[in-house]
Amino acid sequence: MLHEHLALLPDNTVAPPTPSRSTARVWVCGLTLLWLAGVGYGLWVLWAYDNRPGVAATAPGRWPAQTSLTQSRNGSTLVLVAHPQCTCTRASLDELAEILARAAASRPKTYVLFLKPSNLEDGWEQTDLWRRAAALPDVTVVRDVDGAEARRFGVETSGQTLVYDARGALIYSGGITGSRGHAGENAGELALVALLTRGGADRNTANVFGCSLFSSADRRF
């Protein structure tokens, strides 16, 4: 019936604000401002963490004689040291793939060294990062037991990349990501591509972002 439909129509009355509602509104506004400040500070801390670089390498200016790696006599030799469990290094490997693709003509001899502490079980280093690096063309993946090679190159942070020219001179030492675990175009990547393709760049270093290869206890040795 029509009058039944009519009865179902809701009575729409807008209640005027009461003192208690006004008080609640003030409280909500205050809490919202507090929340906004807290969240803003938290994000700031997170951004700062992600953009705080790791310890830079103290790489030898000449290709180290003690290394078991073979230097290219015809062109450049690129060495990237990685921690196999470091999630931030995933971005470094992505950037390495990008650099190698863009500098394919110069065909640098490329090593990716994966840390393998001797006190951990075999296969610990066989992570997706290892497989990803091994899948890159013309890349040699090397197990670096207890970081011996890393120490020879003076590297302390995962993602550190070194490039030596054909004469064994260090021409680049730095990271190839813009921040921690952050893939995408960055200063290190651009410099490295320029060095490999044009033989020169406006910079030969950049911040490195990644996990430490050695614990504080390891560093004491």
């Binding site: 938290g42 469990q85 999630t87 931030c88 995933r90 893939a183 995408g184």
Partner: protein, 490 residues
């Protein structure tokens, strides 16, 4: 309620439309707030799961610890999501709630982009969130969301340009380029919100008009119900008046007949005495008195019968009688009347008729009325009475047909020939006499006895009246009309 008050002024509908619009809008705000409350909790949990899956641990050589991203997903994500989710549940519909949700949604986008290492795919969260915010159909929520995105790019462009633009030193206006793409989407969402609001207002206006129509129709229904009730009372009063009239006529006719019979009887006696004493001069006057009395008696009898029928007091008796004997008796009765106008009476009666079980008096009255009627309107012609068996609607019946070669009737006259006090023409009464009740009584008697009467006529060529009566009145007549003794017999 008077009809004039039912039509509300246009302003009233407008106010109601505004109320409905505000109510609809509030419902949408509340519903979307609740949806976002669910989404916030989901995003929080998803952020934690994602952080645990992608970057559970940070490493220092062989030593691991929980990754900062996991703690950020739990605590920072919780801080971003839970406060607006709580507002969405306890303060749904408030403007401050949806503005807070808009800010939180964009902050959560920034956090998720961080947790995924700045993957370009995660940036779609920003654009998806803007589209979701448009569910509010309130373009104002897009402003804080856009401001958060712009501020994020501005601050990171100033402090960590490489993390957002990929270069160490970016243009100080580059954040505007990113914000412009967000504004680009905002423009379409703004248009969509405004169109939705326009449609909501149209819906509210239509609903307000419909409500008024419903109100008017409801009132009209109530008025109609009142009218029907009044009509029912009026009808009952009219029926009561009709019954009272019929009762009055019946009793009055009865009271009139007694003295009238005396007048007719005494006028006949005086007429006989005058003829015997050779006082011839008084005979015509006495005959006029007797004829006038007879006419008046006939009229009163007719009125009495009709009023009895209308009052529902006329009953039908059921008795067996021989049809052929009845036909002979009726023919003998009307022969003088037929011959008076120099007419010839022809009777054709089937042999297989047998007895009828119905009301003898009424059957006789029907035949006498029809034949006297035919005799009255026919001069120098013939009147034929035909009687035969027939099945009418599978009911064994007797069909009486009275055919005359008289004046006949037009279609219009035929249409009202069975109505009381109606003759074919007003001049007929003056020329042929009669009360105009004979055929009306025939029609009602036929109906009472479960039969029917019909007429075919042509002006100048005569008429044919056909009466169909069931052999046994008990098979068709309404039991209520059968008198008690007859009903028992049946």
């Amino acid at each position: 309620m008077p009809l004039l008050q039912l039509f509300e002024p246009a302003g009233s509908i407008g106010r109601r439309a505004e109320e409905l619009f505000a109510q609809h809008q509030l419902e949408i705000y509340r519903r979307t707030d609740r949806l976002f409350a669910i989404l916030m909790v989901f995003q929080w949990v998803a952020g934690i799961v994602f952080a645990l899956w992608v970057s559970p641990l940070a490493w220092d050589g062989a030593v691991s610890r929980t990754h900062v991203h996991v703690w950020a997903a739990i605590f920072l994500g919780g801080a971003i999501c839970l406060f607006p989710a709580l507002l969405g549940l306890i303060r749904a519909g408030e403007a401050s709630t949806r503005l807070t949700i808009a800010v939180a949604q964009m902050l959560m986008g920034a956090l998720l982009i961080h947790l995924t290492g700045g993957r370009i795919e995660t940036h779609f969260h920003v654009f998806g969130s803007l589209a979701f915010l448009a569910f509010y159909r309130d373009w104002r929520v897009l402003i804080p969301a856009t401001v958060v995105v712009a501020l994020d790019h501005l601050l990171r462009g100033v402090f960590w340009p490489q993390s957002v633009y990929g270069v160490l030193v970016a243009s100080q206006w580059r954040w505007l380029e990113h914000a412009a793409w967000v504004v680009f989407e905002d423009v379409f969402l703004f248009v969509a919100c405004q169109r939705s609001v326009t449609e909501m207002k149209e819906i509210a206006a239509r609903r307000a008009a419909l409500e008024q129509e419903v109100r008017i129709r409801h009132q009209a229904e109530q008025d109609a119900s009142t009218l029907v009730a009044q009509l029912r009372v009026t009808q009952q009063q009219a029926e009561a008046a009709t019954r009272a009239k019929s009762d009055f006529l019946a009793s009055m006719s009865h009271e009139l007949r007694t003295p009238l019979n005396a007048i007719i009887l005494y006028s006949e006696l005086l007429q006989e005495e005058a003829e015997e004493s050779e006082r011839v001069s008084t005979v015509p006057d006495l005959r006029r008195i007797q004829l006038a009395g007879s006419h008046l008696l006939e009229l009163i009898n007719g009125i009495l019968d009709l009023s009895k029928i209308e009052a529902g007091k006329m009953t039908v008796s059921r008795e067996p009688f021989d049809v052929r004997a009845l036909v002979r008796e009726v023919a003998d009765t009307v022969t003088p009347l037929v011959e008076k106008n120099e007419n010839r009476l022809i009777v054709r009666c089937a042999d297989n008729l047998g007895p009828m079980h119905t009301d003898l008096m009424k059957t006789r009255q029907i035949l006498l009325n029809l034949l006297s009627n035919a005799a009255k309107f026919t001069r120098n012609g013939s009147i034929t009475l035909e009687v035969e068996r027939a099945a009418v609607n599978d009911v064994p019946s007797v069909v009486f047909a009275v055919t005359d070669t008289g004046t006949g009737m037009t279609h219009e006259q035929v249409d009202k020939i069975f109505e009381p006090f109606t003759q074919a023409d007003v001049r007929t009464t003056r020329k042929y006499g009669g009360t105009g009740l004979g055929l009306a009584i025939v029609a009602r008697f036929c109906s009472l006895m479960g039969g029917s009467v019909s007429v075919e006529s042509e002006p100048g060529r005569g008429s044919r009246f056909t009466v169909r009566l069931p052999f046994d009145v008990a098979t068709v007549a309404d039991p209520a009309t059968l008198d008690a003794a007859t009903a028992e017999v049946a």
